[in-house]
């Protein structure tokens, strides 16, 4: 069975800062909205977890290479 090799170039392309930073930003935005919305206590309950994951993610991915 042949194995697919993931070279450093492919890994670098996957761990680009741009898309990951956008994803983390979106997560923080959704979390802040969940924290301050006025229609669901359930959304409020999970808001902090979403913001925390987004913020920690943002800090990590901001150290990824630009391209």
């Amino acid at each position: 069975m042949s194995r697919v090799s993931h070279g450093p170039g492919q890994r670098r392309r996957f761990f680009r800062r741009g898309p990951w930073e956008n994803a983390a930003t979106a997560l923080i935005g959704v979390g802040v909205f969940m924290l301050m919305q006025s229609f669901s206590l359930w959304l409020f309950g999970y808001s902090f977890a979403v913001i925390l994951v987004g913020t920690i993610g943002f800090v990590i991915v901001s150290h990824f290479p630009e391209a």
Binding site: E21, T25, I28, G29, G31, V32, L35, M36, Q37, S38, L41, F44, G45, Y46, S47, F48, I51, L52, G54, T55, F58, V59
Partner: protein, 305 residues
């Protein structure tokens, strides 16, 4: 005769190296930062996982895990305080941006006495928020306050109380904050407007661009980074707003204007639930930090355009 060995820093022979001098100069700042910022932050995070009460120092402290967070994020009261905070932050920033930009556009026209007018407009932001809170309670007084008098002069609103009415109280704090901080937004916008070179407008005039077109295509895009910076500062400040609102309404009537920071203070220093309030503080901190990150990223993008 002394011989200098190759590879050895020359500075060492004369005294301290540049790097050592730099460390000596910045180390007091780093120590201070660690002592008054980083340590309290880490200590608060630790306390948020305990049942510690600051008014009972002899009581054994128990590790409760994420119990404080679960109670906070399942509480309808906390949810309401955060909604009140969102209302306050959102509307006050909206009004401050609209009025601040409008005033900046007016002041930017070089008319006679514009310097004196600028100084007058800037006066409210030079006052202490607590003082502003106190004197606006007098302005809002239903019997003797000037606010009711002015409203009744224009429309027959009858007898009403701004800070005693459940529907009006949230708007009363928005109004005071807008009155106080619009000059700040105006000042930042004015800096942005003054940085736009005249030749861009002259080129637009040659191309027969209308005033509205000039505003949308030149003024607004070039002022936007400044405006966003003002919004970032005001959003963070308003999210933490405490003194002005406490003096004005004390969170009332009921708890309609009880912002997150006011409730945090009540939990920490009236009910003495230190662990619980620490968890609340951590939630607010992470929210502001996360939102600040988004904003700085967006600001950098706008600047790069």
């Amino acid at each position: 005769m002394a011989v200098t060995r190759p590879g050895k820093p020359v500075q060492r022979a004369r005294g301290l190296s540049d790097r050592a001098v730099a460390w000596i100069f910045i180390s007091p700042t780093i120590v201070l930062l660690l002592a008054i910022n980083i340590f309290p932050l880490l200590w608060t995070i630790y306390l948020s996982f305990t049942n510690y009460r600051a008014n009972q120092p002899g009581r054994p402290v128990r590790w409760v895990g994420v119990e404080n967070y679960e109670r906070l994020l399942g509480s309808e009261d906390i949810w309401e305080y955060l909604q009140a905070t969102a209302h306050f932050v959102g509307w006050s920033i909206f009004f401050q941006v609209v009025l601040g930009l409008g005033l900046a556009l007016l002041i930017n026209r070089q008319f006679k006495g514009h310097t004196a007018l600028t100084t007058l407009i800037l006066l409210p932001m030079m006052l202490s928020p607590a003082v502003v809170g106190v004197f606006w309670t007098y302005i809002y007084q239903p019997q003797a306050g000037i606010f009711n008098y002015i409203i009744n002069f224009f429309i027959d609103a009858g007898s009403f109380t701004m800070i005693g009415d459940v529907n009006l109280a949230p708007w009363s704090i928005v109004l005071v904050d807008t009155w106080m901080w619009t000059p700040y937004v105006m000042l930042i916008c004015l800096a942005g407007l003054r940085s736009i070179p005249d030749y861009i407008y002259e080129a637009a005039e040659v191309d027969r661009a209308s005033k509205l077109r000039q505003f949308w295509s030149i003024t607004l895009p070039m002022v936007l980074p400044f405006l966003m910076l003002a919004v970032l500062f005001r959003a963070i400040e308003n999210f933490k707003m405490f003194d002005m609102v406490v003096e004005l309404t004390s969170g009332g009537p009921g708890s309609i204007t009880e912002l997150a920071s006011i409730n945090l203070k009540r939990e920490a220093f009236e009910k003495w639930r230190t662990g619980y309030s620490s968890a609340f503080a951590v939630i607010l901190f992470v929210t502001v930090f996360g939102a600040g990150n988004i904003y700085v990223k967006f600001l950098n993008k706008v600047k790069q355009r």
